[in-house]
């Protein structure tokens, strides 16, 4: 890879956090050629994490979500084409065909197409008061219904569902959360941490039900009730579906690029086509740290992989080797997670699951592989370092609140 000339055009499909970060980083690293950012939303790149938190609750404005406001984009000479879909890649001609008929020539193409909210496939799920939550537009539609005294039924006890439950409860709504699995957050954490969040939500007044099946959404033209598998009914002014997302891989697939739970890329975020890269929620990368392929859905992944793509495009390839971390804000609590705990053989707890702060550490063969913390920012920060180092730690010291994790870091 050699450094691209100023005459080169880099086209980025997807104006989310991965696409936006790729564009910014290209400029920060001195790329002087043309950058075109194509997004199917009309907005310039914006931060998605606040959508289910501060933006839904009304404490953050739309403007404040913008990573680079329109004036900043212009100043950085990042051309933004919004409200337009990328329809087809012509790899032989190195052209991208857009839904408005435009055809963009590219020297390099970055696929940062993200994901879309999974939709419920149940009778009545197509009614107008059943909402997904993925975009500014989704939240604007949802927010009009978030009024004191109204009843919200949230389908899915994942991060989105629980964050919306917290906001809606704070807004004075009657909130029900329905989870099909036996516990909330089942995909991301252990039963003890799930139980902690179930307790927090119930204490806040949420009617949280796990292991429930939904039979149908009833009411015309809008849903008025949710019918459960056991025959019971829950009144609803609206439904929020927080049941995960699907990666947007169709564009890559149609172009003949490999897709396997995301667009397949190598450690430098390149597809098999030397002119096409992918980053963010849509990309599936080989993770050296875990020794397997991963498709991550997180803002950290979007931004860090976006920067890896920019470096590779500029002839300075860096291996993408991330230790994933995630967070969630619910009520006054902040959950911070680092690493993937799957496969741990021992859990060590610092603090108390029955309080409002704890750290759960996950070990495998003596090494710290992951941690979930609530209200213990120091422990999170040092656990992040220890996980990245694959440090062998003494479980007794981990459990001892009097011991700062800093002292467990191997001497530099």
């Amino acid at each position: 890879m050699s450094e691209p000339a100023a005459t080169q055009t880099i086209v980025i499909v997807g104006a989310g956090q991965a696409g936006g970060e790729t564009a910014s980083e290209l400029r920060k690293q001195g790329f002087t050629g043309r950058i075109v950012l194509v997004g199917d939303e009309t907005h310039v790149p914006y931060r998605r994490p606040p959508l289910s938190k501060a933006y839904l609750s009304g404490t953050a404005t739309e403007e404040s979500l913008y990573i680079l406001p329109p004036a900043g984009m212009e100043k950085a000479r990042i051309e933004f084409i919004g409200g337009v879909r990328a329809e087809r890649i012509d790899r032989a001609a190195r052209q991208l065909h857009l839904s408005d008929g435009r055809v963009l020539d590219y020297d390099k193409l970055v696929l940062a197409t993200g994901g879309r909210a999974r939709v419920l496939s149940l009778p009545g799920a197509d009614r107008p008061n059943v909402f997904p939550l993925r975009s500014i537009a989704d939240v604007q539609a949802l927010r009009a219904h978030c009024l004191q005294g109204k009843s919200a039924v949230i389908v899915g006890g994942g991060f989105i569902g629980l964050e919306v439950a917290a906001v809606a409860t704070k807004l004075g709504m009657k909130v029900t959360v329905l989870e099909g699995l036996p516990r909330v957050l089942a995909r991301v954490t252990v039963p003890e941490v799930s139980a902690f969040f179930e307790r927090i939500h119930r204490e806040a007044g949420v009617d949280l039900r796990t292991g429930v099946q939904i039979a149908a959404f009833e009411g015309e033209p809008a849903v008025t009730h949710v019918l459960l598998g056991d025959g019971s009914r829950i009144a609803a002014d609206f439904i929020l579906a927080g049941i995960g997302q699907l990666p947007n891989v169709e564009l890559a697939q149609q172009a003949g690029l490999a897709v396997d739970n995301g667009i397949v890329v190598d450690e430098y975020s390149r597809t098999a086509d030397p002119d096409i890269y992918a980053a963010g929620d849509c990309a599936n990368h080989p993770n050296e740290f875990y020794g397997c392929r991963l498709r991550l859905e997180s803002v950290q992944n979007a931004m860090e992989q976006g920067r890896v793509v920019a470096s590779a495009l500029l002839g300075k390839p860096q291996v993408y080797n991330v230790v994933p971390w995630f967070w969630s804000d619910q009520y006054d609590l902040k959950l911070q997670m680092v690493g993937l705990s799957a496969g741990f053989d021992r859990m060590v707890v610092r603090g108390d699951f029955n309080s409002r702060a704890f750290a759960a550490f996950y070990l495998k063969e003596g090494r710290l592989i992951a941690a979930d913390t609530v209200g213990r920012p120091q422990d999170f920060m040092f656990a992040k370092k220890l996980v990245a180092m694959r440090a062998v730690v003494d479980p007794q010291l981990l459990a001892d609140e009097a011991v700062s994790l800093k002292t467990l870091l191997p001497a530099a």
Partner: protein, 106 residues
């Protein structure tokens, strides 16, 4: 509009004009100041907007809350003038603020 100065570790200055009301992190990222990432978007969760506030300005800021102090402890090379700049809201009184960018955030 308040003017802020960000200094790279080698002394290179980035002077940015910013409306009041946004955070120092947003002022930096919106002006493409290198070395300030703001991965979590400003909710005090990632410590990738760590800066060292100039001595003369440090005491004029509202002090860091418990959460920020906790995050700062685990930042890279924290010092007595360390702050997470997403937690500093820009006001007209902060016109002239100087912040030093650390050598690394990740």
């Amino acid at each position: 509009m308040p003017t802020l100065t960000f200094l790279e570790p080698d002394g290179k200055a980035h002077v940015v004009e910013t409306p009041a009301g946004v955070s120092v992190m947003e002022a930096a990222t919106r002006n493409m100041v290198p070395g300030i990432i703001g991965e979590c978007g400003g909710c005090c969760t990632c410590a990738t907007c760590h800066v060292y506030i100039d001595q003369t300005w440090y005491g004029r800021l509202e002090s860091a809350d418990e959460m920020e102090q906790g995050m700062l402890e685990g930042a890279i090379e924290p010092g007595p003038l360390s702050r997470l700049c997403c937690q500093i809201k820009i006001t007209d009184e902060l016109d002239g603020l100087i912040a030093r960018i650390p050598a690394g955030q990740l």
